[in-house]
Symmetry: C2
Subunit: 344 residues, 2 copies
DNA sequence: TGATTTAAGTTAAACGCTTTAACCAAATCG
DNA sequence: CGATTTGGTTAAAGCGTTTAACTTAAATCA
């Protein structure tokens, strides 16, 4: 399939290639209405498709966005198995496509090497999900291209963020349990790093307890990793060691699912014996058995927000960047894993 | 960040840019060991990163692979929510990255417009999942670039495929149920199109029945769409209309999960009253309650296979393409949704 | 020894596009 | 009426690579 170039179009329209370029890039005022329409006609008759490599080389936009998600430690695979990330990617892709951009999706190895990718491909911008080591963010800044962070509390005004109020979410979940009469409420969660998503949710948990006049008992927090397996493990430990616990707040649905299984294996019924609330509302949350009560964030919408912000920054230049972080809305998805505690 | 070009490297090494290019692309024999190492040193001292746009323009490989997955009808979003696709993408991405390629992930609108993308970006190849209208494949062929199809029985030797033995899988699932004493076995499935994945599984189902001397009863096949919702719906219908049914084969785990819910809503217990077997073994299959017995295909591995095939075709040229389709292995994942039927 | 092949590099064109400086009428001005 | 502006257009210079064609020097051969 022979490539149709801008030159072919210009010849057909009887104008110069520059004129064609002007028309096709919407440089108003540089060209008369008449030639503009001649050019457009020629282009569509020839079925002209611009070559983005050439465009990119010539110094304009590549219309390529880098999207980074964490990868599994062992296999070096994308963490796309985590529905949370897939959903985000869905939201991002749809919005980018709609604006004529394409997405290069990749995992990064310990935060290294992405600088190369970015330069090789002349990326116009990037969306980064997850948390990486410091040096990764330094690299990112050196590329001098707009960047949006999702799920990250990196404190640097260079980056834009699209976040949720994790603290409020943690509070909502815990409050729901308290309102249902629970007082011994466990927290099952990934590692609580300083300034991480998880820490905020943890803080919300503590605030709710305090507000209700309940003691915060550090024996009730099970903290390790964000995975189904850990949820299961923690539930087993908790059922065995703390029979007085009647409710669990898991800071991620994936973990909550594990908790469900762990409790069931330990002979506890949900929600009769123990209530459980998760966080995220990934699609499985409503498919599992019993359907999981959880804190819903509209993940797809959040992806779209991130894309919007990025595109805005790219197209309207640095100046347009709002430095208030976008904060997506949160609500409770009440399903069947929380039950009022019957005083016995 | 000023871009370091091949010219900078050449000057530093005291050779021509051509020499640098030869060295960096491993053109053996064009250049002496001595200059080669001078060049390499210079390149690494300057931290040279080649510009892929320029490479692509100059007529060599873009090192970009297009990956296409279906999108939802309504929202125009990627169907990445379906874990089956996410897993494939994981496998593909890991392998591509490892070989220095990048992936442009996108959905296509009714099979249209992808030709453009492909030409704009000078894609080196593409991996297509799902099934599209005829014209899409015609477009694909016109780009003259290697293409691997996943989950598609398009009968055209131009395309390479990475498939599984769907018929055998359908047979395995059904046989498992028969071996457990079931005779009234329903099939819940997406639309059975001619030459589709689903048809093959359906054929396996029929073969197992026939082989066991059981009647094929078309009232027992519930055929509509591959979704949780439909599984739920079908299960309701089946429980209400055919109480004699004691087992269900769902041709996809997503559907099977719906069936689980539908049965439970209808007051049927799984596996005590009705046994269920799914297909795919997506991660949720082991997380749901009870854990789903299903036909396992190693989805991630299949993605990797697809990537391997594609890279081979790209790097070793057309001639190297094996025209035997790769067929991935299948096995039963026995969990807790199938029970021996007690004669009453 | 002289002719010929080979090895090691270099030069310069090409890839398809954007963009700037220059150009040319035609219109406007003093 | 000559000088200046202006709207419209063009030719040409990159952008960073690759590669075919060419050069030169050294090695091989008869």
């Amino acid at each position: 399939m022979k490539r149709i170039t801008i030159r072919d179009v210009s010849e057909r329209a009887g104008v110069s290639t520059a004129a064609v370029s002007y028309v096709l890039n919407g440089r108003e005022g540089k060209v008369s209405q008449e030639t503009a329409s001649k050019v457009r006609r020629a282009a569509s008759e020839l079925n002209y498709i611009p070559d983005f490599s050439a465009r990119s080389l010539a110094g304009t936009r590549s219309k390529l966005i880098g999207v980074v998600i964490p990868q599994t430690e062992d296999q070096k695979q994308l963490l796309l198995q985590n529905p949370f990330y897939s959903e985000l990617v869905c939201g991002i892709e749809a919005r980018l496509r709609q604006s004529g951009y394409h997405m290069i999706l990749s995992g990064v190895d310990k935060g290294e090497g992405y600088l190369d990718t970015s330069m090789q491909r002349n990326l116009d911008g990037a969306i980064i999900m997850g948390i990486y080591q410091e040096s990764f963010y330094d690299d990112l800044k050196r590329v001098k291209v707009p960047i949006v962070l999702i799920d990250s509390y990196v404190n640097d005004s260079y980056f834009q963020t699209v976040s949720i109020d994790d603290e409020a979410g943690g509070y909502m979940a815990t409050k729901l349990l308290i309102d249902n009469g629970h007082t011994n409420i466990a927290l099952v969660t990934g590692l609580i790093r300083k300034d991480g998503v998880v820490e905020k949710r943890f803080l919300g948990y503590k605030r709710a307890l305090k507000e209700a006049g309940l003691f915060y008992n550090s024996d009730y927090v099970f903290e390790h990793s964000v995975s189904y397996e850990y949820g299961q493990e923690a539930a087993a430990a908790l059922a065995a060691g703390h029979p007085e616990i009647t409710a669990v707040f898991a800071t991620s649905d994936l973990v909550a699912l594990g908790v469900l299984r762990g409790l069931s294996d330990a002979g506890k019924r949900v929600p009769e014996d123990v209530s459980v609330v998760g966080f995220d509302d990934i699609p499985v949350a409503r498919m599992c058995n019993p359907p999981l009560t959880t804190v819903r964030q509209n993940i797809v919408a959040r992806g779209a927000m991130a894309a919007d912000r990025l595109l805005k920054a790219i197209e309207e230049g640095e100046d347009s960047v709002a430095d208030d972080p976008s904060v997506a809305r949160l609500e409770l998805a009440i399903r069947q894993t929380v039950q009022r505690l019957m005083p016995n």
